[in-house]
Symmetry: C2
């Protein structure tokens, strides 16, 4: 199940450090690439991780704090220089358009491709992208300015037909499709076999959620209920809970409460304050609260599910 | 004479590559830091080279092509996050203000320091900065959009007094200052010694010029006459002279003609097209035309004069 992963391109909050770039991630879903946030240097990070810039068609920007979008204009410019013609979809606060256009206008750059702007809904959870296998939802966060998180949710797998059913009844392709869609099997001799006796249940569909930047709020776990892999911002340690509240960020305590209440399977955290040079303490504090959590580093890749 | 140097932070044109960032340089003049251009990732490059961001008070932006300014908003934001209060001087096309402000406004960022915008003169050479030891000039280039180069020129040294003069006449501090300013020495006994017999001429004052982006044009060498160290853009090899003309860039031939006609002492070149992965050919071509030229790499430092 290595066809659904996320690569961390930046995991510092606010300002880059010598070891961490500002926020950006690349979701790889069956080799289709989706970019979440685009801090300064994201195009260099994509190159460093051997992702083809031209394969990115959808970019999701959580909010208009610079550490989440300052790299977007550079990426857009490079795509243009490399001869892109395909549409580029940007899901963001609609004011991102003015930010890009003022810079393109003053440099007298005419894009050879079209940017399709999809304004985010900062009030309610919303399906913002869908194809045959994947759905992407935005959901509102509670930050100083309008902010959304994103959920990448695999569409449910169809059930597989039991081997002995194939062997015994040799269903044709039409029948196989019908069965997998949930229908019973009717044979020519009048035999009727119920669907539940024909199929084995499919593996649970996978989901990845990006939750940054936000403070903890009561409804937040509802949005993330049952997510398989959650990336959440963990800007501060508990000692700075007041600063976290004031700045609308989360602490180790907030993030572990969120992960527990939402019953997520795996938790990875990032968006660390630059004050934490040595990550030992924040790691120990987080693990004492949520034992399986992982503090991410730039250029690490996490698979939503290692194997079935 | 290692108190006047330039560190290359980015030497790629248009788009960053895995080995080169887009244009930016740091001029270090007696530990005062001046930033020229600010491509994406400049703040990370400054950090990598152990320059204190807070020590930069003057930023010179040659023109509004993205590879020369996309990193400015990130640098300004980080300066603000780090608690800067001192004024920051930006010498640029005045439209840079709108580019910065639209991004600061949408992120609801209020700077704690003031940016003083100095609009560049794209028609004539102009003194744009001056202190006790240094003058900085802008001069017009010929690029697709309004563009200036910059010349950092040390103010002339005062001559030193000959050792035997000190020994023989023991001039007091007042007399020493008078002599160094060019005056003759009048002794109480009526002796009159001419200035030229009192002093040894000072070392020539040093100068560094940044010349990017531009095509070659007839008046260009006049602006750069006698510069000691010249950094010039050398985007293409000679084979692409037509592309260079069309895109308002220089080739190895243009840049060596410029260096010869301007009689510069040392030539370093950068702003290479990303098409040149292996620099051997461009280097050979350039050296055949101007033997002492150096092709720069990111993170290299060049002293305007190694020793007196």
């Amino acid at each position: 199940m290595e066809n659904f992963s996320v690569t961390i391109l930046g995991s510092s909050s606010a300002s880059p450090t010598t070891r961490r770039n500002t926020s950006s991630q690349l979701v790889n879903f069956y080799h289709r690439l989706y970019l979440i946030d685009c801090g300064e240097g994201t195009q260099m990070q994509l190159r460093r991780n051997h992702f083809k810039l031209s394969k990115i068609n959808h970019i999701f920007i959580s909010h208009l704090h610079g550490d989440h979008f300052f790299g977007l204009i550079g990426l857009v410019s490079s795509l243009n220089l490399f001869g892109r013609h395909k549409n580029l979809h940007i899901y963001a606060d609609p004011r991102i358009q003015e930010i890009l256009e003022v810079q393109l206008n003053f440099s007298e750059t005419v894009l050879r491709f079209k940017i399709i702007y999809h304004p985010l809904n900062f009030e309610n959870k919303e399906l913002i992208f869908e194809d045959k296998k994947l759905e992407v939802y935005s959901y509102p966060l509670d930050h100083r300015i309008p902010t959304c998180g994103f959920i990448f949710q695999e569409k449910p797998f169809l059930p597989n037909i039991k081997k002995q059913v194939i062997k015994k009844y040799s269903p044709d392709i039409h029948q196989i499709n019908e069965i997998r869609q949930g229908n019973d099997l009717f044979l020519k001799d009048g035999t009727h076999i119920k669907n539940k006796d024909l199929v084995i249940p499919p593996p649970a569909h996978r989901s990845y959620a990006y939750c940054s930047d936000t403070k903890f709020f009561e409804k937040l776990p509802d949005h993330l209920r049952g997510v398989e892999l959650l990336y959440a911002e963990c800007t501060f340690m508990n000692q700075l809970q007041q600063a976290a509240n004031d700045k609308f960020h989360m602490t180790t305590n907030d993030v572990s409460t969120l992960a527990k209440e939402a019953k997520v399977k795996k938790l990875i955290v990032g968006h660390f304050s630059a004050r934490y040079k040595d990550m030992t303490e924040i790691q120990e504090e987080l693990l004492s609260l949520f034992p399986d959590a992982i503090l991410v580093n730039d250029n690490e890749t996490f698979h939503v599910r290692e194997s079935l």
